[in-house]
Assembly symmetry: C2
């Protein structure tokens, strides 16, 4: 007998608590992030407790937030890497053994078990015809049964990216990565904004 999905534990928490955490951090309960919750949950279970795992996600959409919320890996601490392939997959790996588990959305299982989710993911229907509530109920109903997990050995991209040395730009005086040319990227004309005027630190500590 199946238990109600909202009563099951996912990533060590109740589904309801996970949804609250997702909404608070990500801004809304994005379907991709709900799927990501189940993907991370399965990868965590497979790799087991007590393993210091690093993570790689293969898309920049939604999935990075599932890893950041439900594992110790974040972009800023360097334990999560994002590969921009738009593949809906996550890998957690033991950074000493260089082995781990990759979990991805299985299109075959999804099409067979959850046509609404398949049509949403493949963009076969207009967004307005699949309300978020319908998708959310569908995802919570199928859980990890639309996913496939496999054990993997790491062959690349597993090293932590160390901070480069710190250089000071002779033009603007700001710091930048020392493995670059003499001027900082902004002073080389690669900047993304133009300054107007400095602000006073009136509220300084």
């Amino acid at each position: 007998m199946k238990s109600e999905p909202h009563l099951q534990a996912v990533c060590g928490k109740s589904v309801g608590e996970c949804l609250r955490i997702i909404e608070q951090f990500h801004g809304w309960r994005a379907p991709g992030l709900l799927l990501g919750m189940y993907m991370v949950d399965w990868a965590l279970e497979l790799i087991g407790e007590g393993v210091e795992a690093d993570a790689i996600v293969e898309t920049r959409h939604c999935l990075p937030d599932a890893v950041q919320l439900f594992t110790p890996c974040t972009v800023g601490n360097g334990w999560l890497k994002i590969i921009d392939w738009d593949c809906f997959a996550v890998t957690l790996y033991d950074r000493r053994e260089l082995s781990g588990f990759r979990v991805h959305l299985d299109l075959g299982k999804t099409e067979a078990l959850c046509p609404d989710l398949f049509n949403w993911f493949m963009r076969r229907v207009p967004k307005r015809s699949l309300p978020l509530e319908v998708l959310e109920k569908a995802i919570l109903g199928v859980g990890r049964s639309v996913l496939t997990a496999e054990s993997v050995v790491m062959t690349d991209a597993y090293k932590r990216i160390k901070k480069s040395g710190t250089a000071v730009c002779p033009s603007c005086g700001e710091s930048f990565g020392a493995d670059r040319p003499r001027l900082c990227p902004s002073c080389r004309g690669e900047g993304y904004c133009s300054p107007l005027e400095p602000q006073s630190a009136s509220g300084a500590a």
Copy 2:
């Protein structure tokens, strides 16, 4: 009269609460993230309430987590972009007006006001000679007075990155970004891991 730094509000919370949030998400109270907390705090104050701001950080180290924790912008929701320059700067901008505020660590102010912080940031002293407690106390003491903020107009990188169309790899059957060649990156030999064996979804919902 200065108030005690730990009693001041930062990013709408007490410093103590911010430190707890940082430790819980990032794993430890990294000095770069404490600086980031003050940078985001200032940028938020300058841009004002009621503005839907997107964010750009100019390093992948520490600073992305400050933005993700203290603004609605995350990597996964697409409101935060990371430019990998190893510049210690963050910009919050109004995505309609394309104007905003860039805050960076000012090396001149840092050297003058907080030599320990300057020496740590420029790696002029071995890590063991500057314990984290010393750095933390130093950063909480100087707050935003070691930063410089300027108003800016956006000239590039301000557009949201939309998800590409979804293709299905004819070799492995997985989805990937449709703006790429026919095979998915893994099947083209660009993968980062080799599969060993599939796992059964014993705990499936």
